[in-house]
Symmetry: C2
Subunit: 211 residues, 2 copies
């Protein structure tokens, strides 16, 4: 798709009633209801019920921290920003400091971690995740944000240590990306969350622009 | 807010349980539920139930036309585009061809109609809307899209004539914008709808960038 000289890549999960969700928990699958159609009225109208962590979404620190921040305080310019897709498709179980240290990551970077999650059917349970020491490495560098193509940036770590290492460093967390169409490299990220006041997360239609 | 030399304006409605909705219909107000908090668990997690026409959203033609198109076929580059905010705050009841004809609108434009809806508390019922002859005028010019700062682009017109005139001409429709912070002029529009497969509309976090 072209916009002038730009190509837009959709890096969001399609939202459906049977979409993959974190750990396969049924209560996290969306329910889409048609409230009116042309058999009963003159308009077609539907509604959705969904967990705010289903599909592609931005976490805020309230998700893991009492007194944490919420969606409406996001600085939108931090989510309309240059970013780098990092190819980590060789990683087998979890992304560690060792995996990241060769990637030339700088302060203020927004990095998207492309893993085997993007190459295979979406795993609900045993997905590749960011290990605590990988998160601490990114925190030490002071990056601006991190995204991952799994349903969560961690899955069974004690005390949500990956989230906390990132959140304590003020790093944005995007989960549920789809990166199969994009190669390692630099892009413009657009990831504007729905402004659900007071919420600990919100769905995002995330896209990348190759300039 | 600054992104390099760019300023980002949020033109979306905040989403809350008591937000204004089309005609004040209670079933259109969102329900936000906290499913887990720190008194019962180790994470804070919530979910939302909302009509897809609540708040800032993009309509697709299925909303008004059997066999109409749905969200997943939107060309995203058409919603990351230059646009023009038109100052129509002098209009009293409805926007007509006469109101638009002095605005120098061209084929392919994306126009956002700033009305008194942006200057006053949001009206649920008697909001300024786009009259059929205004819609037909925009269709004749062959614009790309139109947005408005009211809860609907029409309110009580027979046969949804404003929607149909626009939809039959392939014109995108954004409803529920907030334009109080932006003056007439040229901007970059970003309005990426949630990709709810098969749906006739989807919420959008719409922003403008002044370059």
């Amino acid at each position: 798709m072209e916009n002038g000289s730009n190509k837009i890549y959709d890096i969001s999960m399609p939202i459906t009633m049977d979409m993959p969700v974190y750990k396969g928990r049924e209560e996290k699958r969306p329910i889409i209801t048609v409230n009116s159609d042309f058999s009963t009225g003159t308009v077609y109208e539907s509604s959705i019920q969904m967990n705010l962590h289903t599909g592609t979404h931005l976490d805020r620190t309230l998700h893991m921290m009492p007194e944490g921040n919420t969606i409406e305080t996001v600085k939108l310019e931090e989510l309309f920003t240059e970013c780098r897709v990092l190819d980590l498709t060789q990683v087998v179980e979890k992304i560690t400091e060792e995996d990241l240290s060769g990637k030339d990551i700088h302060p203020g970077d927004f990095v998207l971690l492309k893993t085997r999650n993007s190459l295979e059917p979406i795993l609900e349970k045993d997905f590749i995740y960011l290990d605590r020491n990988g998160a601490e490495y990114l925190a030490k560098i002071k990056i601006k944000g991190v995204g991952i193509d799994s349903l969560g940036i961690e899955r069974s770590q004690p005390g949500h240590e990956t989230h906390l290492a990132l959140m304590e460093a003020g790093i944005h967390i995007l989960e549920g990306l789809r990166l199969e169409k994009v190669a390692e490299g630099r892009y413009q990220l657009i990831a504007m969350p729905l402004n659900i006041i007071g919420s600990e997360a919100a769905p995002v239609r995330a896209v990348l622009i190759k300039q």
